[in-house]
């Protein structure tokens, strides 16, 4: 199902967050040049057209880079911050869960999940099982 961004209604970011709140991870695509982008915008950063639609994202991605942010154990311990390249092309900052922060590696195949954190939906990624 596509969500069309119109000139009069809410902007792309709001529509993207609303879809995420309903459990659907989408990506903004440009109908003029066909390319996806992230973060969501009302005009295509590749070609400038304002014909943007949100389409369901595959959720498949690859770790482009990763860092372990060090934090004292009593404050919650170390955690991962990563940049993930979606199979559709765009990149987003996220976190890889389900594996120790230092075990997250560049090139790792990951899959998106939507969790609730600080009372808001949040996209995180988990490693794709070998052979999956």
């Amino acid at each position: 199902m596509e969500i069309r961004v119109t000139a009069a209604g809410p902007g792309t970011e709001r529509l993207w967050r609303d879809a995420l709140g309903e459990g659907r991870l989408t990506l903004p695509f440009c109908e003029a040049c066909g390319r996806a982008h992230f973060f969501p915008r009302v005009l295509c950063p590749h070609c400038g057209a304002n014909a943007i639609v949100l389409r369901p994202a595959s959720g498949r991605g690859t770790v482009h880079s990763t860092t372990t942010v060090r934090r004292r154990a009593e404050e919650g311990g170390d955690y991962n911050v990563a940049l993930i390249d979606f199979a559709e092309g765009p990149r987003m900052m996220a976190r890889v869960d389900g594996v120790a922060p230092a075990a997250v590696a560049i090139g790792m195949a990951v899959e998106a999940a939507i969790v609730t954190e600080d009372e808001a939906p949040l996209v995180v990624f988990r490693p794709v099982a070998e052979g999956a």
Binding site: E13, H64, T67, R70, Y79, V81, L83, M93, A94, A120
Partner: protein, 384 residues
């Protein structure tokens, strides 16, 4: 496109520092006042001669306007564009344009921060980043760590290569009485220090200090009338591709790859002509990537380029002779201090760390998360 029209039309005639290291009990504007006083004394001008003010900070919404008020000025040009730590190199370009157009006669470019001793009161104006903040990256170090990790993955750069940049900076700082971090530092020390955001340890990160700087600039036709040799602005170029690291087009190539060649073309200089290179070293990875992007070595070779110790004092490649943001001073936005060291080297005022009669210096400023890149070329009178 290169516009050589402004080449050599303006010159830095006065420089000054204030509150370097720690300025307990002094506000950020107090040390801007100290630095401005020192820069005016350096060139023999009066406060009332300043009719162009260029300033940026991370804590004021109208920093240049605050500076005008504090100093009691009535300038005809007030310019406060904030592109992060590169702001003051960008201000060189706007000051040169304003001077050339006759909009002002004496330009002050200044910055100050008391982020160390004023800790707790330091509130950045930087906004919450909606698509990054929920993942709690530690700013700014995680943005640089993500690029460092990618550089290591793509090109085989090692933590030892990164550490070499910190060790080299320390060898210069040890010759600079103003440098805040002096004493022995080995590659082993850097590797064994506390990890902050992998692969960067606390010794891969710049200092957190107080400090202010001020630069006085006039048109070149007046510059010979001042007591000290002028440093002419021969080239300056800026380029900007993104704001936050998740939108950085390529984690291992910055817009310095465009600003650098344009600034050098405007100045009409090649790499072999440069006697001093001042690169914004917020983290040890930044000079490595800027050496590549500015064309001192091929893309990906930055780590191996620095590995032989050439950046150390006496190593043959004069980089960051003040000790850099890593070992000299880093009050949040460091770009202005690159210029002040370059001017002092070109004048021959640097004591134990003085280079042998340098004529040309390249200064490169970085702002945001590898975002705003500004390159400037300064030269002595004989390079005009």
């Amino acid at each position: 496109m290169v516009n050589p029209r402004l080449r050599g039309t303006a010159a830095i005639v006065g420089v000054g520092h204030g509150g370097i290291g720690a300025a307990p009990g002094r506000t950020a504007f107090d040390i801007v006042g100290d630095a401005t006083h020192a820069a005016l004394a350096d060139c023999g001008l009066k406060l009332s001669d300043i009719d162009g003010v260029f300033a940026a900070t991370m804590v004021n919404s109208m920093p240049a306007v605050n500076v005008v008020e504090y100093l009691g000025l009535r300038p005809r040009v007030t310019e406060g564009t904030n592109t992060g730590g590169s702001s003051f190199l960008a201000h060189l370009q706007w000051a040169a344009l304003a001077l050339d157009a006759g909009l002002c006669e004496v330009a002050l470019i200044t910055y100050g921060s008391n982020q160390k001793t004023g800790a707790g009161k330091f509130v950045s104006t930087s906004e919450i980043v909606p698509f990054e903040a929920p993942y709690k990256p530690r700013y700014p170090v995680s943005a640089y760590a993500l690029a460092a990790a990618r550089h290591m993955h793509e090109f085989g750069t090692t933590r030892e290569h990164l550490a070499e940049v910190a060790v080299a900076a320390r060898t210069w700082a040890n010759l600079n009485p103003e440098a805040c971090a002096r004493g022995p530092l080995s590659i082993g020390d850097v590797l064994a220090s506390r990890m902050v955001s992998d692969p960067l340890t606390v010794r891969d990160c710049c200092l957190v200090t107080d400090g202010a700087g001020a630069v006085i600039m006039t048109r070149a036709d007046r510059a010979r009338d001042f007591p000290k040799p002028p440093a002419y602005l021969l080239g300056v170029a800026a380029e900007n591709w993104h704001r936050w690291v998740s939108s950085m087009p390529d984690l291992t190539t910055t817009a310095a790859s465009r600003s650098g060649p344009r600034a050098m073309a405007m100045a009409g200089v090649g790499h072999a002509d440069l006697d001093l290179v001042m690169l914004y070293d917020a983290f040890t990875i930044t000079p490595i990537m800027f050496l590549e992007d500015l064309g001192f070595c091929p893309k990906g070779e930055g780590g191996r380029f620095v590995a032989d110790g050439r950046l150390r004092h006496g190593g043959g490649f004069a980089l960051n002779t003040n000790g850099g943001g890593l070992s000299c001073v880093h009050p949040g936005m460091y770009g202005l201090f690159l210029l002040i060291e370059a001017v002092r080297q070109l004048r021959g005022e640097c004591g134990a760390r003085q280079l042998d009669r340098p004529k040309l210096a390249l200064c490169h400023g970085n702002g945001g998360h590898w975002s705003s890149q500004v390159t400037a070329i300064l030269g002595t009178g004989e390079t005009l």
